[in-house]
Symmetry: D2
Subunit: 357 residues, 4 copies
């Protein structure tokens, strides 16, 4: 149950304060050129301590590839990889050993498995997403061959919302600021909002938007594995995610059918749709238009302030965590959203090879 | 790719105007008592023509079980079933044979497979969900043994929204009105809203809310198969769904962490949480509280009015469909949402049997 | 657990004395031409009562396709099918209801599931293989497009062995006699051997050999899903099978490496091997040579003579079954072996599409 | 396609001359005690250079566990592990870069993937089985909790055959000699036979027998995943294996049904069978008797003598490999056979937990 994907398939392992995080990518075709600098850069986009609004832990998160790559190219054999954990302050967690932190996985893990690695959340830590970023960056490299691009950016922080559509923005500017919003003005406001949360020893949530361009017509399996259902599954598997919508999403349910329908038109580049409420997916299958979607992230549960809770013996206790934690997870979530989207598209790209004989 | 679930697993088949719809349920344990009246009633809740606000097609949708049940109980062997199609007006679709209806799957199917069964949408028709309702009703019967209940109801139609929380309502009243909203007053308004859409030859969307009660602590696999990720996957696989959120959902992202966290408390029934923004799931694993979620349905694409589009030869054409179609899919979607939720919970219930040795 | 194959995937259902046997073929590409006469003929090769050496039950085993085929071609959607049971003498089994027949699945089923459908073996009956023959015949039709042929024949009955290699025989003559051995002289001896068993109210086993020709280089996944491992898995899943070997098999283990190695040579048709001890598979991957293998079938357990056993209450009892049973299962096993082989090759054919990007 | 098992699931990676070999074990329940000395000992049983009849490469094959184990016990989370390659003489293989060694995977890999890691066979090297031994030893530790034991031993080398049944032997004596045959007298003859092969720069094959004791009634899924079918699949996936048989196997097909049937009897320990031609499995499900099977290993293809072959450009060439290679793979295959058997039984043990509700 630690695998994702049908053909292009990631299996991940690792706890936040164990030896390391890693995984195996199975089903990646032979011949994909591996750009190690690109992959490391994706990891750096995810890593803590990259700016004043993220936690100051200084892990380097260096990936070591263990197999499947020879003379710079994938071999069609499984790609093993490992990122060793460093800079672990396991002792920071000793006083939390027997305590259930509110809205964390401490209680549910213990009940499910009968024991738990309490150090930094163990397997439930978002540190596990390192494996997804590595696999996703290889999926991105594969998709690049077919001119498919995958972008994500911060669309809302608390109530600070980006008013423009992604079509009005240069998505290559996303990383030009530390909050990863491609609109500089909104980015400033978002940063200010996160700083307020940090000063209050509190946290703030928001929305990451994903945009996938260049997807050919035909990806997606029509019934249970609709392309958007697999994208939603991927996004809802990211830590702290509470919702997913694509195309017109929740708001689109307020329109009438005649307003919502995307009329087909003839264009220089073949059949297109006039509007794109469908978000590039019809009947679960890509139609060649842009795929776009929103992912809701809750304000993360780790607060650097006093909270009530109970411990394993059902005593009421007060906790007051110290340490290094992000007041807002969204800027670092951007590469994770991109990685998961790339994994889904790569998987469906391969699956679709078998539909016509 | 037409299977759903890891252990309790439905594989479905069937087109809307072919021989019938059916499926195989594999992995259902032996010994579940099969109540055929209950199952038929679930199908009747989904069927068209049940009220003035749904389409007047009069299929009887009688399920025939083909295997896996002996002397009234499941045998642990696969349960095959078939619902024959009747009352097919295939000729209604002849004039749409070469035309791509807006926001339908006509175009994407043809591009994906090189051909398509154009009669009534073929495999892309929501008639396929019959198979899900049958499988889901068996999942419900299995879950009943463990006192797990699965409810859904219409929470919003267009802009007509149910103002109360599910906790203030009697969910057993959902079927007391034709729109399946457990609040009679709101139900009246929703029915009126749908009738307006029908008169305009237009359609209207909205939200179905699901509530699952009695789930034990420990269901859900922590990384990719978080309980809510599998619920979201299930819901996004239903025709016309555009979004999924659970617990505090999209709105919860506007709260601060200190507002959003669910504080653990000691109660007569063991450890509980004071609030339930988590929607009964923490770290992807059920915590014993109610699981609740929203599913967004778009206004369906079939309008009984004139629309522009193109055909296979890229000619611009005008279509003006006749026939029998729902102005609002939500009342009939309620049992489908329940069925998919039951399948997810049954599957995780079985999966969780293996976590402690 | 009632599914076979990764991509071209059969899920089967059905008990011998229930409503019928059927299945779903998922992952068959669109565009395969369906020859219904060919499929029915494959079923007739499997059916009982076809000759004096097989049981006299007269089921017609007519397949009804329920979905996935439109205007004579597969659509890429799942292919549902059903063969209704007829001519059931369920009462023949009433006296065996509480008894464990020797070397049957009665005891193990009851212990595993807590109950069992005792009528004719229920799910453990070889009648289930009907579903495999239907799916295998569609796999054969798909493979025919690529000039891959799948043959099987009876190679040994008891001690009566075919002395010639398949290369000296015309495999199209297999069905020219009722025992399905392509050498007429040996066939006569085999028939006589089976008649002796029948007269003794006893049964006899033997070997079916399979030969697959025209397989392109490259099918097979190198580690756990070696092409021969998946073939062996398929064959060992057939009722009454006790062993599988391919290429030089068990006897080849007596050779030295220098005798056993297949030397590569240059030929008009590219690189070939001088000998074929490898049975067309090297490192788990097809090398373009003929694939050949042996499947060992035990003498079936149903004897029409008195036998000792125990019943559910652990009483010692004597049974003396009456009814219609084959003294030798091999002639009817030939199309089943072919069907399973075709399923494996079709599946790997599709899987191999994704290995090079 | 580099995963094995449905629930207790190994995914492996690694090439013989890359960074290392490793894997992820997913689905191992929480609470299994991990005995690191036991695991290392299993690896030592597989490693080269352990005796005068095995290759003199001196890899230490030290396993490093990367996750999933905390305070000496499994956590229910995935267990990552890595064995770094050492003592690689990659340059030994430079002259074989463009050459297809007879009966190796060089030709098929190149055709399948378009490129290959030629160093020591890359992914096709039996060095990959290290991952299986690690996973299998954890499966053994899990099974030990339920008193299931898994044994294998060398039953035949070339024509030197062990005449006794496993029931007459002390299987704990298997490792008392370097050939791993529990009968000292036969072991001497086998060692002599291997030494002859070595002196001739040739290789010799044979049979490994597996015996699994203490398996409860009920493991195995009745149709495609019969317990023996999954065992056969596992064994046929081991390098150099050409055949598999269980219970009475190929020879049993010469018996009549009345000789072959295993009569049920009442015993002090409940229902048993008088004979065990069924090899402990009836209808694909374990019946509580000993499970036993034979695995045929070909004489391995790497000869330290001159051989004809062709290269990538289809030139005829002569090769004359140097280096360190086993004349007989069987002694080192014993722990691999045990490992794969343990994986199958552990997987079915977990699968069977869900059959009765």
């Amino acid at each position: 149950m630690n695998s994702f994907g049908q053909i292009f398939r990631l299996t991940s392992f690792g706890e936040s304060h164990g030896v390391g995080i890693g995984g195996i990518i199975d089903g990646c075709p032979a011949g994909v050129e591996i750009d190690l600098d690109f992959i490391q850069n994706e990891l750096d986009r995810r890593k803590p301590g990259q700016s004043k609004i993220t936690t100051q832990r200084q892990e380097s998160d260096q990936v070591e590839f263990l197999s499947g790559i020879f003379e710079g190219k994938t071999q069609g054999t499984p790609i093993g990889f490992l990122i060793r954990n460093k800079d672990q302050h396991s002792n920071d967690y000793n006083n939390l050993k027997d305590v259930f932190r509110p809205s964390h996985a401490d209680y549910t893990y213990l009940k499910k498995y009968g024991s738990r690695d309490h150090r930094g959340g163990g397997r439930s830590s978002a540190r596990e997403t390192i494996a997804r970023v590595v696999a996703g960056s290889i999926a991105k490299l594969m998709l690049k061959q077919f001119d498919v691009s995958v972008h994500a950016f911060v669309q809302r922080v608390g109530d600070v919302e980006l008013a423009k559509s992604y079509k009005e923005l240069d998505l290559n500017q996303t990383d030009s600021n530390i909050v990863r919003c491609p609109d500089p003005e909104t980015a400033e406001k978002m940063i200010a909002r996160i700083e307020v949360a940090g000063k209050n020893h509190d946290t703030v949530g928001g929305i990451v938007q994903g945009v996938i361009q260049g997807v050919p017509v035909g990806l997606g399996e029509p019934v249970f594995n609709k392309l958007h259902a697999d994208l939603g599954h991927a996004m809802l598997g990211i830590n702290a995610v509470k919702g997913f919508e694509y195309g017109s999403g929740f708001e689109g349910t307020r329109l009438s059918g005649s307003e919502h329908n995307d009329v087909f038109i003839k264009s220089d580049s073949g059949i297109r749709t006039k509007t794109n409420h469908s978000g590039g997916i019809q009947g679960g299958i890509s139609n060649g238009e842009d795929i776009y979607f929103n992912v809701a992230f809750k304000p993360i549960a780790t607060l650097l302030k006093e909270q009530q809770t109970v411990d394993k013996e059902e005593n009421e206790v007060t906790i007051n965590p110290k340490g290094r934690h992000d007041p807002c997870v969204l800027p670092r979530a951007v590469p994770i959203v991109e990685a998961m989207a790339a994994l889904v598209i790569a998987d469906h790209y391969l699956l679709n090879k078998i539909n016509q004989s």
